[in-house]
């Protein structure tokens, strides 16, 4: 079977290193890989955010990066989730944590009983939320009878350190060329599917590189991919839902405390997030460009990075023989782990659809279908953070917030919110990046209350239900009281791992 023999991955920073490493680990050795490491766009890596969802653990293992690798080689810490502090200047403060499916009684989900019990929040029944309140952390045990086993965790990380870790794992299977792309050469004649393809990349070191498949990780400008957009039958509006924003990034000294969350504070001009690493705090401020000077004043530290960016996504991410990965295909405001989730999904999608011949239209069609579904479903969750109609007079009048709500308009999101409000139903779409637990925690945190609950819950006598709920809450408090503080757990874990490594 004649197939793809040479893949070029172009870019700099997290996306190119992660993609190259994934291809190195997963593809057979008869497919040659070349990484063109251009010296641009690494600054924008801070827009991948600094927290991961739990799925990063398994993704890293696929890349042959273990958790000890991550802890030894970066300043990463653990993370129960993102803590939203008085979000949109409302009283809504909550931990947007990660959790396995909630328990059910008589086949009815926990949240229906919480509604029936007259409570307003899920927090009392979420062990990671309770542990986060006092900065406690321990690895969830495998024994699923243990209350902590229901919690999931992610990481707080420094994106440049993570990128460097992936780069350090590249072997001689990947040919690295340190050069910038001077020109993208395309075939003037369309192929049998009507697409214009790339025939080579001219580099600034006068080298010309030719491949069967080109992967563009060069960032939002998509230097390689955009050449095909101009030549092919790609819709004229290239970037959908584009929204102009401004970001400021700094590193600060850390105090003794080591929270188990990234803290996101709402401000008039936008929001500010602090990520707690082992030896420092990384601060990211995002605002509307009109309120830039206000944001800079409030940032509280000298900016190491300050830049405008456009959040949005391309209408398709695979055209001809070129695929746009990461920020080259979508740039997502890093309010949640969504940017990292999308990058991992891009890579996973690519691995499943590596072309088997040089005619790639079947792979491209399926890739684009899944890409659009993933990015639109990610937008739903982020959009829900700005859907404030249920809180009267709560929408701040400032530019950032007013603009954000304009991007929330979506029939799918309206359906989700309406069904949940009506009777606690969670409307699910196919293969959403954010699961039912994510949505329930979001609704609870933003004080969205269902008008009623699943009547099947009435099968459980009120006294039994109250007993179960109280029991759950008490057991959680008991377990949390015995957990160590995050800093101490991390210190002891590192000592144990060091000892094991030296044996």
């Amino acid at each position: 079977m004649s197939g793809i023999k040479h893949i070029v991955i172009a870019g700099n920073g997290l996306a190119v290193n992660m993609t190259a490493l994934a291809l190195q680990q997963q593809l057979p050795p008869d497919i040659n890989l070349t990484l063109i490491n251009s010296a641009k766009y690494a600054d924008l890596d801070c827009l991948y955010g600094s927290t991961s969802a739990p799925d990063m653990y398994a993704f890293n293992l696929m890349l042959n990066v273990s958790e000890p690798d991550l802890l030894f080689n970066t300043n990463s810490t653990f993370c129960w989730g993102n803590y939203f502090d008085r979000w949109a200047m409302t009283p809504c403060s909550w931990l947007q944590g990660f959790h396995l499916p909630f328990p059910a009684m008589r086949g009815v989900g926990l949240h229906h009983f919480v509604t029936r019990h007259g409570e307003t929040e899920l927090a009392s029944y979420l062990i990671n939320t309770q542990a986060d309140k006092t900065g406690k952390f321990a690895h969830p045990p495998e024994d699923n009878r243990h209350p902590l086993s229901r919690a999931e965790y992610g990481y707080q990380f420094d994106v440049s350190a993570l990128s460097a870790l992936y780069a350090s794992k590249l072997s001689s299977k990947v040919t690295v060329i340190n050069a910038s792309i001077a020109d993208v050469i395309t075939n003037p004649a369309a192929d049998s599917t009507g697409n214009i393809n790339i025939t080579g990349l001219q580099l600034d070191n006068l080298q010309r590189v030719e491949a069967d498949l080109y992967i563009d990780c060069t960032g939002p400008d998509a230097k390689v991919y955009s050449e095909l957009e101009q030549n092919n039958q790609v819709p004229k509006i290239r970037v959908k839902n584009a929204r102009s924003l401004f970001a400021i990034h700094s590193t600060l000294q850390r105090s003794e405390a080591l929270p188990t969350h990234r803290r996101i504070r709402a401000c008039e001009f936008g929001w500010q997030a602090d990520t707690y690493l082992r030896n420092c705090i990384q601060r990211l401020t995002v605002c509307s460009p009109e309120q830039k000077s206000q944001a800079v004043d409030a940032h509280g530290a000298e900016a190491s990075i300050a830049m405008a960016f456009s959040a949005g996504h391309r209408q398709q991410a695979w055209t001809g023989n070129c695929v746009a990965i990461g920020q080259a295909s979508s740039l997502i405001e890093p309010l949640t782990p969504a940017p990292m989730m999308m990058l991992m999904r891009d890579i996973q999608r690519l691995l499943e659809l590596i072309p088997v011949t040089n005619t790639m239209s079947a792979e491209a069609t399926e890739y684009n279908r899944r890409f659009i579904a993933d990015v639109e479903h990610t937008d739903l969750f982020q959009g829900a953070l700005f859907a404030l109609e249920h809180l009267p007079d709560s929408l701040p009048e400032y530019t950032y917030w007013q603009q954000a709500t304009q991007f929330v308009q979506s029939e799918k999101l309206t359906r989700k919110l309406t069904q949940y409000h009506h009777r606690g139903i969670l409307v699910n779409y196919d293969l959403e990046p954010f699961n039912e637990q994510d949505w329930l925690i979001l609704h609870s945190g933003m004080q969205r209350r269902p008008q009623t609950y699943d009547i099947v819950a009435d099968q459980v006598p009120p006294a039994e239900m109250a007993n179960q709920l109280n029991g759950m809450g008490n057991v959680i408090q008991q377990v949390v009281s015995q957990m160590p503080p995050h800093a101490i757990y991390l210190e002891k874990l590192m000592a144990y791992l060091s000892q094991k490594r030296n044996q």
Partner: protein, 91 residues
């Protein structure tokens, strides 16, 4: 050989593979990652699978015997004659 992924599909990928292969719709290509496994390794693994499946099947009772053992066999005449005419190892 790619199966489109749907989370809420009524039929799961194994059903799709069965119905497509059953109607002789053979893929012309395969996931390149399969080439990470050598032919020898694949033959060894698949032979192990084949033997384990064959062993389990050979140790599984006939349908009629199973129904009888569980007390679920019917003594109605049409069913009894149909069961009596079932050949050894048949469905």
């Amino acid at each position: 050989g790619y199966i489109q992924r749907y989370e809420f599909g009524v039929f799961l990928p194994p059903s799709w593979i069965a119905v497509l292969l059953g109607q002789n719709l053979m893929p012309t290509g395969f996931d390149p990652r399969a080439n990470n496994t050598s032919d020898a390794e694949f033959i060894q693994t698949s032979e192990r699978m084949r033997k384990a499946i064959l062993n389990s099947v050979n140790n599984t009772p006939l349908h009629r015997e199973f129904l009888t053992r569980y007390g679920a066999a019917s003594n109605s005449k049409p069913l009894m004659s149909a069961m009596a005419s079932t050949t050894s190892g048949g469905n």
